[in-house]
């Protein structure tokens, strides 16, 4: 979804590489790049500036842990800031009123009618009785469109073919909903420009007439710099309760979401992710932030690493890995540190690009037990120079550790593969850099 932004941020972070501490000086270029990336992602110019200023403030003075790259530390700071901005937690729909009245508003072509139906479908699946009202009397066939969608999802549609007064239609729809004991009434309205005073007045009148419990501002995620003005104009008139961000299945970087959230401070409640009626997702601020960064769950990884990693040892291991001098002793030490960090599979799964690859592989925490026993059975020399472990040494290790020769062979093979992999990993760009200090299985 936001690959482009994350790629750009990634590039920006690279300038921080190899810096021990984030300072005013070494962060300047990165902050500039982040800002540029955000603007390129259609985040409003001023908001991008504001955002990067906050990030900068939080970043300055932070120690760049040796176990994570400075870039990743910045990702975490940016991520935290994004999560804060997006509201921290998921917000659902109002449940009050009988019926709960939901008014759908927005510009032309943002996807109001489609999302009225998607939301109706969503609520219906929760077991609620739902009705949709067609109050877009302007766009040709808009009523027809809602009727067709209503049939598709088997939800009744209130409409008045000859009535050109949307306020009256809304009032009548509410009456009809009450009579039919409907739990949720969704009112679709015509698209309107925020500068069209007459039309804005009209939507204000609809609001006063039916007192909606939710007013959802439907906005195209591809909107540019103007998103700020539009959202503000609608909010000034309607004081809407939430936002639906549509067409997120496109490749837009979606910066408008950030702008809107900042300028009106209303929660984004749903996102549209396709043309089908069930292509509607509840908005998850944390997921969105991580998605913007496109960094898997690197953030948690950094957090955990910050908690338990011995920086100097990690640095030493990085060096060893690069020089291909990683030994069983190092491996053993690493296992002890990893065990402190928690569940292995979860941990490894957090690494971008690795998560998917190990999805079907079973890694149990117990899998360390045998390994530890085998390493414990090794002599000092064997640990330092694994190459000397020949057939008879393998037999001894097997009986000494209470395992069998296959397990010993497997460990030796895995260790060799891991060394190779780690070496490659440490050569990798970007996100892969974090892996320098972290050994993992398979």
């Amino acid at each position: 979804m936001f690959e482009n932004l994350s790629a750009k941020l990634d590039k920006a972070f690279k300038t921080l590489k190899g810096q021990g501490r984030i300072s005013d000086l070494n962060i300047a270029e990165t902050v500039k790049e982040i800002r540029k990336a955000l603007i390129d992602a259609d985040v409003n110019y001023k908001i991008a500036k504001q955002f990067t200023d906050t990030v900068k403030e939080k970043a300055i003075g932070q120690n760049v842990l040796k176990s994570v790259s400075p870039g990743q530390l910045m990702i975490k700071i940016v991520n935290d800031e994004l999560v804060t901005l997006f509201g921290g937690k998921t917000e659902g729909l109002s449940n009050s009123g009988n019926p709960t009245v939901i008014l759908m508003v927005g510009l032309q072509g943002s996807g109001k009618t489609t999302h009225t139906a998607k939301l109706a479908n969503f609520l219906k699946k929760q077991g609620k009785t739902v009705m949709m009202a067609a109050a877009d009397v302007y766009r040709p066939a808009a009523i027809e469109q809602l009727k067709v969608l209503g049939e598709q999802i088997d939800v009744p549609v209130y409409f008045e073919a000859e009535n050109k007064n949307p306020v009256q239609i809304a009032i009548n729809a509410l009456k009809a909903a009450k009579n039919k004991d409907i739990r949720v009434l969704l009112i679709d309205t015509a698209g309107r420009l925020s500068i069209d005073e007459e039309m804005m007045q009209e939507i204000g009148n609809i609001k006063s007439a039916v007192n909606p419990h939710e007013i959802l501002f439907v906005v195209d995620s591809m909107t540019g710099q103007d998103a700020v003005n539009t959202a503000k104009a609608f909010n000034d008139i309607l004081d809407f309760t939430g936002v639906i961000l549509t067409k997120l299945d496109g490749d837009t970087r979606g910066g408008a979401a950030l702008s809107i959230k900042t300028v009106v401070n209303k929660p984004i409640k749903f996102v549209g992710t396709g043309e089908k009626v069930d292509a509607l997702d509840v908005f998850h601020p944390d997921r969105m932030a991580q998605r913007i960064l496109g960094m898997g769950d690197i953030v948690s990884l950094v957090e955990k690493a910050q908690q338990v990693f011995d920086e100097d040892e990690a640095a030493l291991i990085q060096k060893k890995l690069l020089k291909d001098q990683f030994t069983f002793q190092d491996f053993y030490n690493q296992i002890q540190q990893i065990k402190k960090m928690g569940n292995i599979k979860d941990l490894v799964g957090m690494i971008p690009g690795v998560g998917k690859a190990i999805k079907d592989i079973d890694i149990s925490d117990d899998s360390f037990k045998g390994i530890e026993a085998i390493i414990n059975s090794m002599t000092e020399k064997e640990r330092q120079t694994p190459d000397i472990i020949n057939g008879s040494r393998r037999k001894r290790l097997a009986s000494g550790s209470g395992t069998d020769i296959q397990q010993v062979n497997q460990l030796l093979k895995q260790f060799e593969e891991m060394r190779k992999m780690m070496k490659n990993m440490s050569k990798m760009q970007g996100a892969g850099r974090s892996l320098k200090g972290l050994p993992f299985m398979k």
């Binding site: 072509g109 066939a141 027809e144 969608l149 420009l193 591809m222 540019g224 710099q225």
Partner: protein, 314 residues
């Protein structure tokens, strides 16, 4: 009859009023108290252009040109900066030497002239077709419309209403019909009924959906079975309030269907007509039509000079 005979200059001015206020109002503000172009002015100009959706690349280009100009003409006072900037933006648009028609009559002698309309969801394809039909009809052309959006609920009905308003025939095979067959039938109808222009609607599709983009190629191919070089115009409709994604849309639709004309809609609503400057600069494909209002007449042929003039008019 040239376009500017019925082209309402006032309408364009009003439509762009917001852009003017925001973009050039800000520039004037930035110019206050400046006797020459300095770094802080250029920084401010960058902010203004970028926040008008011009796009970073084009913005930097404009600034670079302005700087060069200032370097050669040493004695520039603030009152001249406005004109200078206008010159530079016009020049930038002029460089894109694409042929832009000046009226709705000239169809390059092709009959029937086939236009296929494409774009992402909600940009205003069907509405643009309705407005186009109106303009062509006014120019004395015989028009037929093809209801090729057979996917979105009631899209066929929507086009039919436009057909009724304009009193032009609409070829349709109902909802969920194969859009390629609708296109085929429309071109066939045009061929057999002495029609001047056939305009074919298609379903909105996001440019990153490969299957849907392939479908477009198929719709296009089918038409050439009746008229070898049809469609003569593949019109990509872009929403002017779209941000930088407009460039990606243009790129992908051009790749899939050899788009050769652009229409920018909703220019009356957005405060940032700037995307026009960026799109016209970055693509060799001309912006041909702009939508500047909700009325049936509010579609115009794009004219770079008029457009820039309108932006700068005080």
């Amino acid at each position: 009859m040239g376009i500017f005979n019925f082209f309402s200059k006032e309408k364009l001015d009003t439509g762009l009023e917001k852009t003017k206020l925001n973009l050039f109002g800000k520039i004037s503000k930035a110019l206050v108290g400046k006797s020459s172009v300095d770094d802080s002015f250029l920084d401010e100009l960058e902010e203004i252009l970028v926040s008008s959706d011009v796009g970073i690349e084009t913005t930097l280009k404009i600034i670079e040109r302005l700087q060069k100009r200032v370097a050669t003409d040493k004695y520039i006072v603030s009152s001249e900066l406005n004109n200078l900037l206008k010159d530079e933006i016009t020049l930038l648009l002029e460089e894109n030497r694409s042929e832009i028609p000046t009226d709705f009559e000239n169809l390059k002698g092709i009959k029937p002239y086939v236009i296929m309309v494409v774009g992402v969801n909600g940009v205003g394809k069907t509405t643009t077709i309705g407005k186009l039909a109106n303009q062509f009809k006014k120019a004395g052309k015989k028009v037929v419309l093809g209801a090729g959006d057979t996917f979105r609920a009631a899209a066929v009905a929507q086009l039919k209403i436009w057909g009724e308003r304009n009193e032009v025939h609409v070829v349709e095979n109902g909802m969920n019909a194969d859009p390629a067959s609708v296109a085929f039938d429309t071109v066939k109808y045009a061929n057999e009924n002495n029609i001047d222009i056939a305009i074919i609607d298609t379903a909105g599709r996001l440019h990153n959906k490969i299957n849907l983009m392939n479908e477009l190629s198929k719709i296009k191919r089918v038409m050439s079975k009746i008229i070898t070089d049809a469609p003569h115009e593949i019109l990509l409709v872009l929403d002017a309030s779209t941000g930088q994604n407009a460039f990606e849309q243009a790129k992908q639709f051009i790749a899939a269907t050899e788009v050769n004309a652009l229409a920018l809609t909703k220019l009356d609503g957005t405060a940032k007509g700037g995307v026009v400057i960026g799109v016209a600069d970055q693509f060799k494909i001309p912006v041909k039509y702009i939508g500047v209002g909700e009325g049936i007449d509010d579609l115009q042929l794009f004219n770079k000079k008029e457009f820039v003039d309108s932006l700068f008019k005080n």
